[in-house]
Symmetry: C2
Subunit: 147 residues, 2 copies
Amino acid sequence: MTPVRLLRIHEAAAEVGLTPRSVRYYEELGLLTPAARSEGDYRLYDETDLERLRFIKGLRDDAGFSLAEVARLLEDEEARERGHAAYHATSDPAERARILRDRLVRYDQQIEMLRTKIDRLAIMVDEAEARRARTAALIDELAPGAT
Amino acid sequence: MTPVRLLRIHEAAAEVGLTPRSVRYYEELGLLTPAARSEGDYRLYDETDLERLRFIKGLRDDAGFSLAEVARLLEDEEARERGHAAYHATSDPAERARILRDRLVRYDQQIEMLRTKIDRLAIMVDEAEARRARTAALIDELAPGAT
DNA sequence: CGCGACATTGCCGTTTACGTGAAGGTATGG
DNA sequence: CCATACCTTCACGTAAACGGCAATGTCGCG
């Protein structure tokens, strides 16, 4: 097995474009828990942690969600932990499938929220284009045939 | 002529779903200026003010822009005032056309910013769908043929 | 004309999302 | 073995976006 490269906080933060402070803050809010701690209690992050951080950053920066909203979107971290632990604790395929279906539901909710946001933005684009068109029409009245 | 119905701050605020406090704050930030003041110096808002407030609210709530970004999007209010005044001050069609073309450029910038945001959200949707698909595949492995 | 509802400016309080040390423990090259 | 560059927790500081008061002025009806 590959020994799974674990990153310390400033490496992980740099990787996803955040500050160590922000990463600790997100942990404080319950948005994620580092995969492990070192001997001297340093936080250690794996690839799924990085994905999660990128997702959080995306929701915050691109989607403009507050961290409280992000928390709701991700469900609380304890539920995730429990789900993860439960998944590995059982070898019953039916149980595992149930856990995965829960996860699927969360993904669907995330996708729906993003789509809703996109729709609202699309409406704003339409409105802006309508204003643009009115102004363009005025210009054409003043200077007809300026193609 | 219709005497142009002017609204006082709490009416205007209620109309667009804001609090009077927020409306005053937006004014303080230079995002808008009420169309008029009453005898006793009450703020009075007309329909274009309401449109502007709805636009600001949309940018803040739907698009998730900070008020500072909104300010940049709207260009500073003085420029708009000057444009408006200048437009009515001149009867030179060429001059008027120039003012309108400036406005057109701002609209184009707004549309571009909104489109950029939509694109980033679309990418997030794609990523979320990829995660969903991976989980769905896992479920199918565990419980094959669950349509 | 007088009362209550609403307005004004001004200022301080609050929440969010961190930044910025302080005081101390930890990993590593010279 | 020690410097220094990182880490830890704890704690306070700050900018943004308001909310909530105080002191005062204004509108409108009965």
